[in-house]
């Protein structure tokens, strides 16, 4: 029976997701099931029954023509191939790897200014100028080391992702089997996703606590001046969790949305993952490079002013601005 269900789902994959098509699918499914049950009751073997049902199923073009959707069927099945299950599994594995790399990179970027905080705290309490210069040089070295490592991670993730861009371009969609697999996996990650998001947010929100606590307990001195570093570290952990889980989720969603928009095969894509459309072309262009621009501004401002302790504020502001832009210019 599973085979017949797969067969039917795959036949309908590229048809538009309309009430008429869904009705046709359920009716045909019903007829196949009835026939299969009867053949089995007659004592036919599983494979034989399936063979008979499929051979007597007919051609879907006929139904499509009747429903006035002939063009859809032809257009979609000729131009490419379906992604196979092995590829889908490999893609998901790579997605998780990339998510980890990107999240680690972002984390390193966030904690990269912390050596300066330690250095500042140290130089204020240190005795000799020589020690100050030495720690300063060390802090710069560590910062660039972190940033360098982050960039390496980003490149690594980009290369892995690039490999899949090619495959995505060649394929027209995923069949029912793969959709089912991906969807089950995606569903099973739901609680882990929610957990990562909430813990991540909690870390970000509560990141100021060490600063407050330390300055409340200990009078001014080395540790109080260092306390800002803990803020960065907590934010970095929080952001790691958020970026990791968001990227992982996006990977699953991009796989599920491989099937053409509005087709039966596309029904599993969550509403939130559908691409946002904007009312004006200009806004759409800006939004397509939004985070890259923000990153650029962040790095430029930070390197010019060297006010790393405050420039991070660009990120929350940018996030808020983005949701405002989305609400104002989104096509409903």
């Amino acid at each position: 029976m599973e085979t017949l269900k797969n067969y039917l789902e795959n036949m309908f994959l590229s048809l538009p997701n309309t009430p008429e098509v869904r009705k046709a699918k359920s009716e045909l499914g019903q007829m196949m099931e009835d026939k299969y049950t009867e053949l089995k009751n007659e004592g036919k073997a599983e494979n034989e029954a399936i063979g008979i049902v499929i051979s007597e199923f007919g051609n879907l073009d006929e139904v499509a023509e009747e429903l006035g959707i002939k063009t859809y069927v032809e257009e979609d099945t000729s131009s490419g191939e379906l992604l196979c299950l092995e590829d889908a599994k490999a893609y998901l594995k790579d997605t998780i790897k990339c998510s980890q790399l990107i999240a680690l990179g972002v984390m390193l970027c966030i904690i990269s200014p912390t050596p300066f905080i330690f250095m500042g705290a140290y130089s204020d309490t240190a005795n000799s100028d020589f020690a100050v210069v030495r720690t300063g040089a060390f802090a710069i070295f560590v910062m660039f080391f972190f940033i360098g490592l982050a960039v390496a991670f980003f490149i690594c993730a980009g290369v892995t992702k690039g490999k899949w861009q090619q495959i995505k371009r060649k394929t027209v969609g995923i069949d029912f089997h793969v959709t089912d697999y991906t969807k089950t996996q995606y569903e099973s990650l739901r609680s882990s996703h929610a957990l990562c998001l909430s813990i991540g947010c909690m870390f970000c929100i509560l990141s100021f606590i060490p600063v407050v606590l330390i300055s409340a307990i200990i009078p001014a001195g080395f540790w109080v001046e260092c306390s800002a570093a803990f803020l960065f570290i907590l934010v970095a952990i929080g952001v790691y969790l958020i970026v990791f889980t968001a990227n992982r989720n996006a990977g699953y969603q991009s796989l599920l949305s491989l099937n053409a928009k509005g087709t039966i095969g596309n029904i599993h894509v969550p509403e939130s993952a559908k691409e946002v459309e904007y009312t004006s072309k200009g806004v759409a262009t800006v939004m397509s490079v939004y985070w890259q621009t923000v990153t650029c501004i962040y790095l430029c401002v930070s390197f010019i002013s060297f006010d790393w302790h405050i420039t991070w504020i660009i990120w929350p502001v940018a996030a808020v601005l983005r949701s405002i832009l989305n609400t104002c210019f989104q096509k409903i």
């Binding site: 007829m31 009835d34 006929e62």
Partner: protein, 111 residues
Amino acid sequence: MITISSDVIRGYNDTIILCLLLDGPSYGYEISKKIKSLSGEKYIIKETTLYSAFNRMEKNGYVASFQNEDILGGKRRTYYRITDKGRQYYREKCEEWMLTKEVVERFIKRD
């Protein structure tokens, strides 16, 4: 083995289905089973053909569909019943076939 000409039969799928519905409402698989047995297993209608015919005839108002449970209890199925318009169409098609058969028959040589 000679099989049935799908080109010729295509024009009469509606007639065949309507004829079976004259006896009372029925659903997809039951119709296809009856076609198979009444034709002496010489004509097996494809599922897609059957559904297309139902869909077309419903649009034209020859049949009406409704949801009903199996007589044996259990599955909900889409049942189809013939309408008055369908009966009228069926009679027209019967006459059309008589004429067609009569004409074609004159050109069939048996030896």
